[in-house]
Symmetry: none
Subunit: 543 residues, 2 copies
């Protein structure tokens, strides 16, 4: 990534979003989710992708039905063989080795207390389980890694035994021996000193990894302290997902290793400059998949990470950003935001409009009107950040360019739960829409899966002379965010659409009525499609 590559040491990135990240309260990946996340990670250039624990639950078993990565090593996680059975007679171990993974990452206790209490076996049996599990895996032609669980707490309680566990894994042929701060309370200096001790005990740092948790908000610092002390693999997750307070945040670590001199002068990862510039996109896409709002204050990738509203800083910032920003936002695909209601804000708007192919003069009063409308809508719950098409429509309408292709005179939705003729309890949703096109009213009715689907189907059933044009319009995603509490809450609906051209666009609707919010977003999607067909919208480079 820089000129003197030869002198740099390679640090390997091991993603456990799909395994430890799955322990996050509120997170529940489906097999499709896992496939999507593995694709993102693989394309981005992560070295290792841990997919889950095949055999432990149906989702993970299905996910490991085939190999899910192209470039990254695809890793199955699981326990070492049990005490009292041989490696060849342990069905759990056999399933791990037989799974469609490139490697198996074993979790092994490294704190003698846990060996006794949780495993109920002797210290020596635990070591023997590590040896046999690693050897059986290697013999089967796969790489074996060992996560030494509770390593740091175990080291404090019994350093000799903790080191024995790591050394046993190492000697048995584990490609990576990973020191885990399972409870997350270890401080960076402790991590640094203990990693040094482990290396001094004869384990090559190039086969040593760190697995940190964020329970004292220092998972990133702990990971870097371990690298500083000689470890060469970092385990972490996208956006710091993970059990309790989360794992080390790989997004932050990727950026820091690449962009902060202290690290980039000595180390390199497998992430190219080009991929690095997609880091913000990666982080936000993952939040989208989790259907949660990206944290605006996230380091490097948050919407506020390069934002300032301080008057004194804001004007100086624009003179010379480099002295007010610790890194250039472009490097990770983020953007600078100056939140002042003056020329800075206005030129920001002009840039966004230009990106949509809309050119307007800075002193055009319609620009002030547009800014005022956007501010007012955002105050009422709209967010145009994720809804480019709705923003473009609003801008074109305010600048007086959008024809009224059709109008919806009224709609009516009914949802009924009742017993049918056979006595079964059924729920039927029906939508009726009256649309006027060129003075002619078209009335359509449709049933659907739920009220929004019924409305959608009825609305797109008969648009008169435009109907043929929207046949290829497809709604690919529908997201709902409740903006405040209670069943009378304000609802924001975000719809993603596409057509045969492959282009995707996003529209938004906000209302205290989820049907109305959906209706607004659907109308924008259809109108955008019609404009796009005419080549008068959707001109931006971004998809």
């Amino acid at each position: 990534m820089a000129e003197n590559n030869n002198k740099k040491q390679r640090v390997y990135l091991f993603d456990t979003t799909l395994r430890d990240g799955q322990q996050t309260p509120g997170v529940d990946f489906s097999v499709d989710d896992k496939i999507a996340v593995a694709d993102m990670l693989d394309a981005f250039g992560l070295d290792y992708i841990e997919g889950g624990y095949p055999g432990a639950n149906p989702t993970d078993t299905d996910f490991f039905a085939k190999k899910r990565t192209q470039k990254a090593k695809f890793v199955a996680f699981g326990m070492t063989k049990r005490a009292g059975v041989s490696a060849s007679n342990d069905p759990g171990l056999a399933a791990l080795i037989a799974s469609n993974s490139d490697a198996v990452c074993f979790v092994a206790k490294a704190w003698d207390y846990h060996v006794r209490v949780a495993l109920g076996c002797s210290n020596d049996e635990n070591l023997e389980n590590i040896t046999q599990s690693v050897q059986a895996t290697v013999k089967a032609g796969k790489e074996a890694y060992v996560d030494c669980e509770h390593f740091f707490d175990g080291y404090k309680a019994n350093p000799d035994y903790a080191i024995s566990c790591a050394k046993t894994a190492y000697d048995a042929g584990a490609r990576w021996v990973v020191l885990c701060d399972t409870n997350g309370g270890t401080q960076p200096d402790e991590v640094r000193n203990i990693v040094k001790e482990v290396i001094a005990a004869g384990i090559d740092g190039h086969r040593l990894g760190i697995h940190a948790h964020n329970d004292t908000e220092q998972a990133v610092a702990n990971s870097l302290a371990a690298v500083d002390a000689g470890a060469r693999q970092i385990q972490g997750t996208l956006n710091g997902l993970g059990e309790r307070c989360g794992n080390a945040n790989l997004i932050t670590l990727i950026a820091t290793l690449a962009l902060k001199d202290k690290w980039s002068a000595r180390f390199e990862t497998g992430i190219t400059e080009e991929k690095l510039s997609e880091l913000t996109h990666l982080s936000r896409s993952f939040d989208e998949l989790l259907n949660r709002a990206p944290a605006s204050q996230s380091p490097y990738v948050g919407a506020s990470a390069f934002a300032t509203k301080a008057g004194i800083h804001a004007s100086a910032l624009l003179k010379d950003p480099a002295t007010y920003e610790h890194v250039e936002p472009d490097r990770i695909g983020n953007t600078r935001r100056v939140m002042v209601s003056d020329q800075g804000g206005k030129s920001n708007f002009l840039n966004v409009l230009a990106r949509h192919g809309i050119n307007v003069r800075k002193d055009d009063s319609r620009l002030d009107t547009l800014i005022a409308i956007v501010k007012e809508r955002e105050a009422s719950g709209y967010s145009y950040e994720g809804a480019d098409a709705s923003f473009e429509l609003l801008a074109r309408r305010t600048l007086g360019e959008v024809p009224t292709f059709f109008s919806v005179d009224s709609y009516r939705i009914g949802v009924e739960r009742r017993h049918n003729a056979s006595g079964q309890l059924i729920t039927v949703s029906e939508g009726v829409v009256k649309v006027t096109v060129d003075g002619v009213q078209h009335m359509s009715v449709s049933e659907g899966h739920g009220p929004v689907n019924a409305l959608d189907l009825a609305l797109r059933k008969d648009l008169g002379k435009y109907q043929a044009e929207i046949q290829d319009l497809e709604l690919v995603d529908y997201k709902v965010r409740i903006l405040n509490g209670g069943t009378e809450a304000i609802t924001r609906v975000l719809i993603e659409s596409t057509d045969v051209s492959g282009k995707r666009w996003w529209t938004v609707g906000v209302s205290d009525n989820i049907i109305d919010a959906s209706f607004i977003a659907l109308m924008d999607s259809i109108t955008f499609k019609l404009l796009k067909n005419r080549g008068t919208a959707g001109l931006s480079a971004a998809e």
Copy 2:
């Protein structure tokens, strides 16, 4: 706070929530907000509360109309006097000194580049401004502090000048000289080394502070590195509020300094054990004031900070929490949570059932039935980890204990968007519900904000003899998650309810119809409430 107080060094906590925290995008404190936050901080035992910049804006000027703290030093923030005027002729400086504060914290440039470009004065003039501002403040009987802005970047560019700035402030009599990582990109080892250099240059560490930002997710680590190197004041904010990625999180720092041996053995703060046990409350109350949901993964104080859903961990955790938790949740007023999920094993289930006051033998076949049902439902989109009440109902039903208080024979929801008599476009939602209680059918109709609200209101309008019992039932939160794409998607609804007892419970519903999903969750909420009134549900300790 511990036995050998005499040997411990005092670390002082300086809160800048009301000053640097106010730079957070989306945060805008009113004077009343500031008064409330200052009260919280003062009562908690913070040493210094920086309230803002009197004279810079009307809010801060009003806030400094009187002294706002009882115990903590009340600090006004502002710039040193300008070059070219004497201290006695600078109205900004005069206003700061005249404000109703105990102390003034001056921000002073410590990077020669910024002295030249942003201030437009000479390096010596900048030093002279520091000296005169500090001296004038001390002469007026107030303490003076100096925030050395851009100190670490400035030190890298010109170490002699950066140190001169700090030394000038120190020699002029500043009680605290604070080294600021203004751009937030400095790494912990750099902070440690530079703080050592500053102390070596003749500045007593007992008058040295650290002000860190979280741009590489290491504000906490940087603050602690500075303390380790000899600094004795930490500036930070509640929940890490602040410009861009935020300031150092004082909540995390307070807990870490008090509870992690590495720090508590050597240092003490002004926070008592008793106040420490209110830390979770402090953090969440502050989020309440900001009207935002507390981050569940926050270290120490988040709802997930002591939560686990891992089967293998969950069973061991309950045997001996100390070996699975880096600190006791009670110490900071937080609680342990063990959650049911796809991930959990049988002992996990038994523990969760026991926590709900449901005792069942491990070999009871109904337990296997329950586990099978939960797994099947989770596969179809249910998630019980956030829906304790629905889980308890399902468990009690499977174990055959829940009476049918009432049944809903049918419901019907209509949503209509049309022009009203005055020609305005309106959307009306109406719900009709037929309920049978003791063989008597009750039919209710209600309008609402959207279809779900209409259904909710109609459902709770007339439950016959149970109606009086549910008058205090209140729905406090309603969340929707779309589990897959398109408007025909599977929808998961999560409802949070409460009543006069203050207890809160969560229920869940899943369907391809959002109305049905909401209906299922509403039914569970009402049924749970009725059971709870009878003392036959909701027996768990956790709220």
